[in-house]
Amino acid sequence: MKRVLSNKWSIMVFVLPTVVFFTYIVIFPIFKTLWYSLLNEIPAKVGDASYFSWLEHYIAMFTPGRRNPFPGAVVNSLLYAALSIFVQLPFSMFIALLLANGAKGESMYRNIFFIPVVISSVVVSLLWGRLYKGLLPQIFESLGWSVPKNGFLGNPQTKIWFSFIPSLWQYVGYHMLLMYGALKSIPEDVIEAATVDGASGAKMAFRIQIPMIKPMLKVCLSFSLIGSFKLFDTPWVLLERSNRDLPALSMYVDMFSNHNYSYASAQAIFIVLECLVFTILLNVVFSDRDERNLRRRKERV
């Protein structure tokens, strides 16, 4: 039995094809991107003194200047992250709490709120594009509000904000569902005990329910953060082709329109690093808090 399960040949047959394939298509390209980002240009001039540029592209990326949109793009992605964390997540949490606390029609609402999540982001973006062009201006006018000059997506200062709205709207249902699931798995007796102690409504939510679903909040937060650094589809569909107002857009334009492959590779590596750093940061913040709380509880006892 043991011999069968540790037969080297069959292990290779099971594991090796996938590992080789995965390495070739996922891992190997990343190291290649890293390598490219250190070169002066691609195709590289072998033997030339300017073969390597080392960190030059990374420095150029963050050298302020009117013709360098990258710092602004990073700021925009952080703004999206902030919107997602401080508006979208609390809103989703509010809905999740209402539903988990037994609002009438709980499962019907849950199922319908989730619909936007399964729809392709291209369809969502195109629909919102039409809303911005056709319907919303009419509604605004009939309410007597002023429509931005050149339409919602025409003003260079504000169009990025309007390009954020569709994907914020789309993923409320996702966060709602994640939080709802976690809220529902809080043991019944915890809620009962808190009710006996006089907790209800907001107090119950902030003192009992939200602290108890912290692991899921971490998942939601990292989904928001990583999603905002990688944000591409919606703004790409909604904004003009040469737009570079987000890191992924900037990378895309430099890669496939300007053919500046090595510079674009540096931007790609920056996006990966940003995702990694924030993931680690999130882990540190969440684990530290939990440990501290545990220690405090122990001290009290």
């Binding site: 399960l5 996938t18 936007p116 319907l135 492959y261 674009a264």
Partner: protein
């Protein structure tokens, strides 16, 4: 006696209904747009039900001008071939990594799961170099779709595969069944629910993917997402057909969701860690 309807409950319902409306309105708008002509959309009736139900919009999007039918076939092929390979490779790899016993299995498992952290953007240009020669075929998309979805598949399978008792293999072994037969005829059928969970997640990822699809497809293998994006540029004057195209592209996922909503929700919760 407790009051049946308190102020709080009414406000809750009001709030939920408003959000329900905001969730469904774009969809309603898409469906009605697909049945109107351009004059009606921009004219007197942008929101209401169509005055005439122009099913012809679907014909023109599907057939001659829109070529949605081609895109649909391509999307179906790419999606199902990708699903078949991710499921097969994912299952085999999960079996070898999590059921069999060897040194270094933990390390390889971690190595593959790390792949989940990596955004596709980071591999884009080298992938272009690898796949450029394939852009006239479906493989240019299937290959990266399979590779990038293997980690999440293995993660979803891992929770199930480690819960199967080893007596299964022992009994099979005593009966003289070889390891491959045991894996594929005894363990695989037990894994079907987990495989479905993973497959739904991968289906939604692949069906809705835009970035790679826009780079690695030439005209005859275009998928739906790229196709309707192009249509929206091309059909600046015919919004009815564009609406029909959007509806056609959305229907498969909507139908899947309506038929098995709780299963779809479960899949997406399981895949949430992917980010």
């Amino acid at each position: 006696m407790k009051k049946k309807w308190s102020v709080g409950k009414v406000l809750t319902q009001l709030f939920l209904i408003i959000w329900l409306f905001l969730c469904l309105f774009p969809l309603y708008w898409m469906f009605t747009m697909s049945l109107k002509d351009t004059n009606e959309i921009f004219g007197p009736n942008p929101v209401g039900l169509p005055s005439q139900w122009l099913w012809g919009n679907y014909a023109s999007a599907w057939g001659s001008g829109g070529r949605i039918s081609n895109y649909m076939v391509n999307s179906v092929i790419d999606t199902f071939v990708s699903l078949a390979f991710t499921s097969l490779l994912g299952f085999m790899c999960a079996y070898g990594l999590l059921r069999m016993k060897w040194r270094g299995q933990k390390a390889v498992y971690t190595y593959i799961l790390l792949g989940m952290m990596i955004p596709m953007h980071a591999a884009l240009y080298p992938l272009t170099e690898i796949l450029m020669s394939l852009t006239k075929t479906h493989w240019a998309l299937i290959i990266p779709y399979v590779a990038f979805n293997i980690p999440i598949t293995i993660l979803i399978l891992s929770g199930f595969i480690t819960n199967i008792p080893y007596e299964m293999e022992e009994a099979a072994c005593i009966d003289g069944s070889g390891i491959y037969r045991t894996a594929f005829t005894i363990i695989l059928p037990m894994m079907v629910p987990a495989l479905i969970t993973a497959a739904i997640f991968v289906f939604l990822q692949v069906w809705n993917e835009l970035l790679l699809a826009s780079l690695f497809t030439t005209d005859n293998v275009r998928t739906l997402t790229v196709g309707i994006k192009q249509m929206s540029g091309q059909y600046q004057t015919d919004y009815g057909s564009m609406g029909a195209g959007l509806v056609i592209a959305t229907l498969p996922t909507l139908i899947l969701y309506m038929c098995m909503s709780s299963q779809v929700q479960k899949s997406l919760i399981a895949g949430a860690v992917k980010g």
